[in-house]
């Protein structure tokens, strides 16, 4: 049995706190009061909204069967949009639903955000490193760029870029050409862009094999370096090995693919020549009355003679056959004219009427057209090589540019505005990150005999990245949110499209909810990525 405690022990009774001073009671009371306040204000707002919507017409929650119910809040989004969108990454007609219009807006925002993030990072890295450069001029200019851009509003910069720079560019026929293949004009920016033909996939397999080869050789040589302690120039050998595989893959896919074919009449004797291209060369040379198609001989002819003797080619619009065949003809200095048709049967009909000398396209297409001709045996099927990737450069033909990729003035304005603005903030982050690495680290690296490049790559950057990456991801988030300013330069991003939807449908609450949910999803996704990265890279303290 436990001994009883002596009664003479001095036991101080616990103080009795009156309930109006007890922190726990006050806390719960505060909660309850807060809940009541929130619920009361929400219900007051809800009441006002209901009254306001009633006066507005009450068609806010109209269902298909005529009744009005909360579940039909978003049913209006399935009705026809009746407005056009300037830039569409996917197909969109004015008869499509509001949902489709919203998707187009969302895709536009994602497109400008991703391209903007990549370019802004490059610019910011370069500017941030330039501020810390030894060269006084370079560092002051970079600092000036950062200072001016960070202290000027983004909207002013966007207006300046759009109205005072891009829209002041000359007309198409007088376009600025800063580099061959680049056209800057009022209609936007045209630049060369690779076109991927169907035979890109086999070559992709070889590329992946080349990467594996690179990796294997890299690991082997690293192992040998560790064992023998001697440098083995592994970069050179691994890259060579990878490149050999990729180049071999290029020539193999070139020789063994049979995707492309052309139709020529037997009379032209193109097929009898050692190669189809040589035959075409001979054909055009004969037409122009030249012994050989050399550059000097062609320059002596005037435009009319060239146009008369040029090779007439029939192709289907926007098929990869066009840039593929054009690249091969350009290599031979063959003058040619492309006749583009919307549909294969139109091209076949033009070939049958002898508008063009040769019909080029996919093998199945050419075979079908050959079968549709009156005299199939009078025409020969010739194989044309198909390059896996063709660089399509824009060319001025008449009043239009053909080929290459286009950036509309609006897209160019919002993209460059965002890149320049966010690049300045990223440059600040990069600069402070590199300066956060203690100077002793650099001194130790130099004492160990590392070159400047090795010091940056192996000592400074890994430590600097730890400081740079969290604010960097928040700048990416800022760029995505700032892309909403596209409405000021008429680029149809998410905010611009939803603004039109709101004005047309009159459903303010639903549209605002949709916009907020879309942006919140993007923000939360990026924040989650940031938190995951932070937890992985967080320094484990002692």
């Amino acid at each position: 049995m436990k001994p009883k405690p002596p009664l003479s022990v001095n036991v101080i009774p616990a103080p009795v706190i009156p309930f109006w001073r007890d922190v726990r009671v006050l806390g719960v009371l505060a909660q309850i009061v807060f809940v009541f306040a929130v619920v009361a204000s929400l219900s007051w707002i809800g009441n006002n909204v209901a009254q306001g919507l009633q006066t507005l017409g009450g068609a806010q929650f109209l269902c298909d069967d005529g009744t009005s119910s909360f579940r039909c809040a978003f049913n209006f989004m399935s009705s026809a949009a009746s407005f056009d969108i300037g830039e569409k990454p996917i197909d969109y007609e004015t008869t499509d639903s509001y949902w489709r219009a919203l998707t187009v807006g969302l895709l536009n925002t994602i497109k400008v955000s991703i391209v903007g993030v990549v370019l802004a990072t490059v610019l910011g890295l370069f500017a941030g490193v330039a501020v810390l450069s030894n060269n006084w001029l370079l560092s002051r200019i970079a600092a000036g760029y950062i200072d001016v851009i960070r202290n000027t509003p983004l909207l002013v910069q966007l207006f300046f870029l759009y109205f005072a720079v891009i829209l002041q560019l000359p007309q198409l026929r007088d376009s600025l050409q800063p580099a061959p293949g680049f056209y800057l004009s009022q209609r936007g920016i045209a630049l060369p862009w690779p076109v991927f033909t169907p035979s890109f996939l086999p070559w992709l397999a070889f590329i992946i094999l080349g990467f594996i080869q690179f990796q294997v050789l890299w690991l082997l040589l690293s192992q040998r370096e560790r064992q023998t302690g001697k440098a083995t120039n592994r970069w050179l050998w691994a890259t060579l090995a990878g490149l050999i595989v990729m180049v071999a893959g290029w020539y193999l896919t070139l020789s063994f693919n049979t995707n492309q074919a052309a139709l020529v009449s037997r009379v032209s004797r193109v097929a009898q020549a050692p190669s189809p291209l040589a035959g075409l060369e001979a054909l055009v040379a004969k037409r122009l009355a030249l012994p050989q198609l050399t550059k000097e001989a062609l320059e002596k002819l005037d435009a009319e003679q060239l146009a008369a003797g040029a090779l007439q080619v029939c192709v289907v619009k926007e098929s990869p056959s066009e840039p593929n065949f054009a690249a091969q003809l350009q290599r031979l200095n063959l003058p040619f004219k492309m006749n583009r048709f919307d549909r294969p049967d139109q091209a076949g009909a033009a070939y049958a009427e002898e508008t063009c000398d040769i019909l080029v396209g996919d093998r199945s297409l050419v075979v079908a057209e050959r079968a549709a001709l009156e005299n199939p045996d009078g025409h020969l099927l010739v194989s044309i090589q198909e390059y896996p990737v063709v660089l399509s450069a824009p060319k001025l033909e008449g009043l239009n540019l053909v080929g290459g990729a286009r950036m509309t003035p609006e897209f160019a304005a919002i993209l460059f505005g965002l890149v320049i603005y966010t690049g300045a903030f990223i440059a600040e982050i990069v600069r402070s990150g590199i300066q956060a690495v203690p100077r002793g680290q650099s001194e130790a690296a130099r004492a160990l005999g590392l070159t400047e490049g090795q010091r940056l790559r192996l000592v400074v950057l890994p430590q600097a990245l730890r400081v740079i990456i969290p604010p960097l991801t928040s700048q990416y988030l800022n760029l995505t949110k700032n892309s909403s300013l596209a409405i000021a330069v008429a680029y149809p991003d998410l905010v611009a499209v939803t603004n039109t939807i709101l004005n047309q449908s009159g459903r303010a609450v639903q549209v605002v909810v949709l916009v907020m949910v879309s942006y919140l999803m993007v923000s939360l996704a990026i924040s989650a990525l940031l938190n995951w990265y932070n937890n992985r890279m967080a320094l484990v303290e002692r």
């Binding site: 806390g27 719960v28 919507l53 579940r71 978003f74 509003p153 909403s484 000021a488 605002v512 923000s523």
Partner: protein, 499 residues
């Protein structure tokens, strides 16, 4: 020449060895860098050629200066004798071949830009404010008349001309207070201590005075109400910024404190019973009848709202432990921080009239001001929360041990330390807010940028966008720069970053 041979003295072979050594190390030993330098040299030559065509004198001077600098540095390097100028040149401009070429390139490009800029802005610009004189002249540069003729519009928008005395009164008050504050908070702090309280009180009262002056009170009299739609230009920008900054500050601090609060939450049984009850009622009255009528997936989602309510209740209890204050503050902060400012402005524009009793009229400028205020409060709350987290726990405990109640703890111990630490990010955020007021141009208000766009649309001054945007950028740059300098002064005075 004599110096060179003297300092070389009898050691020409050493000099030759030095030069060959440098050559071997920097040119032969670094092939990729040499290739890059050759590319740079080619680019510099191309730029030099094009500059020679357009401005031969300037290009020649620049090229000559560069060559002189290069020769000076090479000479000093060979003789191992540097003076202050050549030392600085070698360290900062001619450090390596790459650096020297970059110097040349930048000098050429900068001089070309400066020449073109000066020509556009000054030499070939027109400074008359008379539209007829401007259209008669054949200048190729800027037409600054658009600014000179519309100066009043840019400064105060469409403010009533007879009421302009109010703006002048505000300006006078501001200038007067600043002039008085300089000695009171500065060199004569001790001598003028008695009136320091008065001056602080006047500063705290000034927003109210400005509001009364600019908005007016009452229907008649010399301080009668004027419509906010007459506010415009720089005046509107300043009003919106100051309102948003001043009103969002206490709200932001409250939100931060609320998010970090650890008061006892609603007990779990209460939450689950309330949520369960409402959910069950909703299921019975709404979900069951409407389930058959639903067609699209989104309709199903909306019909099942009692289930989402249950999920929200569980999440609320698990994450926030029933703390409604913390939950509300967190949801508000994260929600507002996740959306762009322009959507908040659109929301304020379209939804604020809906949220208030039907028939209340809120003017556009007031809607924008409230939108900015709510937006700024969320970002401010995050900054203040960072400051609160940085205070050592011992401070909180010592304050409690001293027997101070919550308000006294916050006012005397916690907040002074927290706010001192986060002055840089807070001022950065205020600078951002000042720049973001340009967004009201998109919702139809005529702030400085909106007036600029409107001025360009006038038939007399059509299309002169470059001039107005340069002016607007300059105004914002000066404002942001002033705020940044003030922040640095404040940091130094309050010894931020030092223990």
């Amino acid at each position: 020449m004599a110096t060179l041979t003297q300092s070389l003295g009898s050691r020409p072979r050493l000099l030759a060895a030095e030069i060959t050594g440098w050559f071997q190390e920097n040119v032969l030993g670094a092939p990729y860098k040499t290739l890059f330098n050759l590319g740079l040299a080619w680019a510099a030559l191309a730029v030099f050629q094009s500059q020679l065509e357009t401005a031969p004198a300037l290009a020649g001077v620049i090229g000559g200066l560069w060559v002189v600098g290069l020769l000076g540095v090479v000479f000093s390097a060979l003789t191992h004798r540097f003076n202050a100028v050549t030392q600085w040149l070698k360290d900062r401009l001619y450090n390596s071949p790459t650096s020297a070429l970059v110097t040349l390139l930048i000098l050429l490009l900068l001089s070309g830009l400066a020449r073109a800029g000066l020509a556009w802005a000054v030499t070939e610009a027109n400074f008359s404010a008379d539209p007829e004189a401007v259209s008669a002249s054949a200048h190729t540069g800027a037409t600054w008349g658009i600014l000179l003729a519309n100066l009043k519009l840019f400064m105060v928008g469409q403010f009533d001309n007879d009421q302009l005395w109010r703006v002048w009164a505000c300006v006078g008050l501001l200038v007067g207070l600043s002039v008085v504050s300089l000695p009171v908070y500065g060199p004569f702090k001790e001598q003028l201590r008695p009136i320091r309280r008065v001056v602080t009180g006047l500063w705290l009262l000034s927003p109210v005075v400005f509001w009364v002056l600019l908005r007016g009170v009452g229907e008649s009299g010399f301080l009668s109400q004027i419509e906010t739609r007459t506010w415009g230009g720089l005046l509107l920008t300043l009003i919106i910024s100051v309102f948003a900054i001043v009103v969002s500050f206490p709200l932001g601090v409250l939100l931060a404190l609320g998010r970090r609060s650890t008061i006892l939450g609603i007990p779990a049984w209460l939450t689950y019973s309330v949520v369960g009850g409402v959910g069950a009622w909703g299921l019975v009255t709404y979900t069951r009848p409407n389930l058959a009528l639903a067609r699209t997936p989104l309709e199903y989602v909306l019909i099942l709202w009692p289930l989402w309510l249950l999920v929200a209740g569980i999440a609320f209890q698990r994450v926030f432990k029933g703390n409604v204050v913390a939950a509300f503050c967190t949801v508000y902060i994260e929600g507002v921080r996740g959306v762009p400012l322009i959507t908040v402005l659109f929301m304020a524009n379209f939804l604020l009239p809906l949220f208030l009793p039907p028939g209340t009229i809120i003017e556009n400028a007031v809607r924008a001001m409230w939108g900015f205020m709510f937006f700024s409060a969320a970002y401010l709350a995050e900054n203040v929360r960072g400051g609160l987290q940085s205070i050592p726990k011992g401070q909180y405990e010592a304050a409690q041990a001293l027997g101070l109640n919550t308000f006294q703890q916050l006012w005397f111990i916690i907040l002074p330390q927290a706010l001192r630490v986060v002055i840089p990010p807070i001022v950065g955020q205020f600078i951002g807010l000042f720049k973001d007021t340009t967004l009201v141009a998109v919702v139809g208000l005529f702030d400085l940028l909106g007036i600029a766009n409107a001025a360009v649309a006038q038939p007399d001054w059509l299309g002169l966008r470059q001039e107005v945007y340069v002016f607007v950028s300059l105004v914002y740059y000066i404002g942001c720069f002033a705020m940044a300098v003030t922040s640095q002064r404040l940091e130094r005075r309050l010894r931020v970053g030092q223990q």
